[in-house]
Amino acid sequence: MLIAVLLGFVFSLLLVVAGKFFRGKPAILSAIIPLSLFVYFSGFINEVSGGGVIRQSFKWVPSFGVNLGFTLDGLSLLFSLMITGIGFLVFVYTSTYLKGHEYLDRFYGYLSMFMASMLGLVLSDNMISLFVFWELTSISSFFLIGFNNKSEASRKSAITALAVTGLGGMSLLAGALILGSVGGTYTISELLNSNQVIADSPYYIPIVIFMFGAAFTKSAQFPFHFWLPGSMLAPTPVSTYLHSATMVKAGIYLLMRFTPILGNTEFWNSTLLIVGAITMVYAAIHALFRKDLKGILAYSTISALGILVFLIGQGTEKALLAAALFIVVHALYKATLFLVTGIIDLQTQTRDVTVLRGLRKVMLPVAIAGFLAAISSAGIPPTVGFLGKELTYESTLALISMPVLWIALILITKILLLYAGFVAGISPFVGKLPEQFANTKKPGMLLWLPPMILAVTGIGFGIFPALVEPIVFPVVTAMGESLGNEHLKLWHGFNTVLWLSIATIAIGTVLYFILKPSQKLVESAERFEFLSPKALTTVGWAYFNKVSSLWTRIFQNGYLRNYVSTIVVFLIGLAGYSLYQTAKFDLDLSTLNEITLYEMAVVAMMFSSIFFVVFTKSRLTAVASMGVMGLSICLLFVFYSAPDLAMTQFSIDTLTVILFVLVLYRLPRYLKLSDYRTRIKDGIISLAFGSIITVLILEVLASPVDKTISKYYAENAYVLAKGKNVVNVILVDFRGSDTFMEISVLAIAAIGVYALLKLHLKETDQH
């Protein structure tokens, strides 16, 4: 399973080298990867539907309890099949959709990176690796939304999406860490045993809030939904794959995965019910006021995600089954509609539903796919959408509190979604073909086949529900509920559910014939735009920018001396306050060594060098005196037997002086840089800082020293690390990770210096 997850990453890396080759005709070959993964995961259907769970675990960072554990149960399998199956069709579709694009290889690289991270997300059995994969999906989504990186709107949407989902990622990490410390493990399958402990813990509410924060941002729930319509600036294959079928369902996956651990409490269920209900109704109403096909689809996707959250909030096994089935239904019809929209956009260069008419004459197969998807989204029998809608109504009717309200809300949503589906899937193809589209080219087979396959699958699942049962039922089992002897059926007899279905279809169809999308509707909605969460966030964002630029102008004003004095003054304040509170000032002078003559000589040397630095008239003398200061400190290190430190300090000081001399060499001979007021201010700051440090060190001497750590290192340096120089052993072995970080920082600093200075050179060249 590890190989299955890594395959996409490896391919994406391979494209860095072999990009040129894949940019041309062979691009379609990349579809082999999702296809083979799809076949691989299909092989598990039998085993998983028989109740089997496949687990694999690899060590990653065992000292932190982070393992690369993978679990394949019903829930993971459903998502894996969707990711690889729809992934395959999208890969095929892209090879034609972006044919000849100069960065096609890059696109495939991002896409396969996304596929791999999404697979890792749904297969992870460890919360930390789940988080890592979760962030990777956000990052690949960022690259894909901003794929047209020359358009400012694209870049802005990409940043918004990254900011919102990244915030959710932080929230997921926080939730996972608290959950891990309460439950005692980061392994999700082991947490199942301690769900009672978790529910009783005082941290239960914070954990749930953090988890909700992650799920709601990723799955675009109100009020975090606004990044999703913005993300529609990405090429259509991306909208199909990430922003309707898979990535936005990661939040749903998270909720479903944690339902057995955190679910079944009043807080969990009612929050999900309310947020889901608001989202589904709000977004469905929004879809009415759009005329861009992708805009309509984006809002109906948000609404569908709301329905899923609503269903998970109900928490009964019927509702969970409805959610699982609706995931399949939605992925099938929404991906079809997106792909159809992409074809229309590619061939006619417009996505405006008010002008698109009669396209069936020029692209019949696309029209058929669109029609099938529309009736599936409407829930008209014999599509799988009908099954999903029936189950949704059935479970909502069984709600104990306020069933009438919930039924009314879900009914309104379903009617509006039917309308949106009809507008997107049927209206561009019916009616009279306008003149301007008469010469539209027929799309190639590689374009219309993928949506056709998805649409036909939707019908096939509807006619033969037994086909979808082995994929959907194990999802509910994986969430710890049992279904008994349930079966999916098209015909349930005359009952309330059927009447609700008939009402939905009838009212929705009537609405479709009465209300036509128009410019006027779009404008009427835009009047309320300033109240939307997006507009409010933008305002907040602007203020945030203002405050931070003010802050920057005060503290980051580009003068090194101001930075240093800010840091020093802050330290004086902080350390001074803390010393004032706690210092005892009871120093026993007898414990100190006697002061020797050579120590006094060194100190005298230090004082005279300081005097020279401050009062000299020449820069060079100042630098040389600074060097004397550094070397005197070196000598002190030697006296107190720290040869390693002395050596390093000596080399550093030499290099610093050289560096100073190199820079000063080119400066004017001597200028008085600061007036007396500044000098006096600086002198006071320096004196205060020096006194604080002195007091601090005397305080350290006064308190008893804990020698366990130094004793441990001294005793184990040779035994564990085979070294006799303890300092070096600490650097390269005991605290090797720190050293690694430090040298990375050094390298980054060098690159920074190089970039800054060289960039400056080029700019002066330009002038």
């Binding site: 040869p643 085979k722 070294g723 120089n725 072995d733 040298i743 060098a750 690159i751 200075l757």
Partner: protein, 136 residues
């Protein structure tokens, strides 16, 4: 600052200082020294050379941009940290060759880590100093 004395001295001092820096690097595990100090000494050798002969001469002597040493050093340190993972041990476990090698003493992953530190330090110092000299 092109004096004939410094010029002559530096061409002898460069190899001596470089060998000394390697010596400091290698003995670090038992006696004062190590990759950090060694790297600083090696960069001083080149800086001295640049002082005496001019930067372009030193660059010709080096043949490649010192910045390339940084990724090589980082990669070496990283790989020596990752190596234990292939033996199913945690990240950065010290691996040691069981026998003794003449002159060098025992060889282990920590030594390669230290060589990585050495290369990074040389790369960083020379990149910064050369860039500044270039620019002003």
């Amino acid at each position: 600052m092109r004096t004939i004395i410094l010029k002559t001295a530096s061409s002898y001092l460069l190899p001596v200082l470089l060998i000394f820096s390697v010596f400091i690097l290698l003995r670090g595990h038992y006696l004062p020294g190590g990759g950090f100090v060694g790297g600083l000494i090696a960069s001083m050798a080149y800086v001295l050379h640049a002082f005496a002969n001019g930067l372009s001469d030193t660059k010709n002597l080096l043949r490649f941009h010192p910045g390339f040493l940084m990724p090589i050093g980082l990669a070496l340190a990283f790989v020596s940290g990752m190596a234990p993972l292939f033996l199913d041990l945690p990240f950065m476990t010290g691996l040691w060759y069981p026998g003794e090698i003449p002159v060098l003493g025992s060889i282990g992953s920590a030594l390669f880590f230290d060589i990585g530190v050495y290369l990074v330090v040389v790369g960083v110092t020379l990149t910064i100093i050369f860039t500044i000299v270039d620019t002003i």
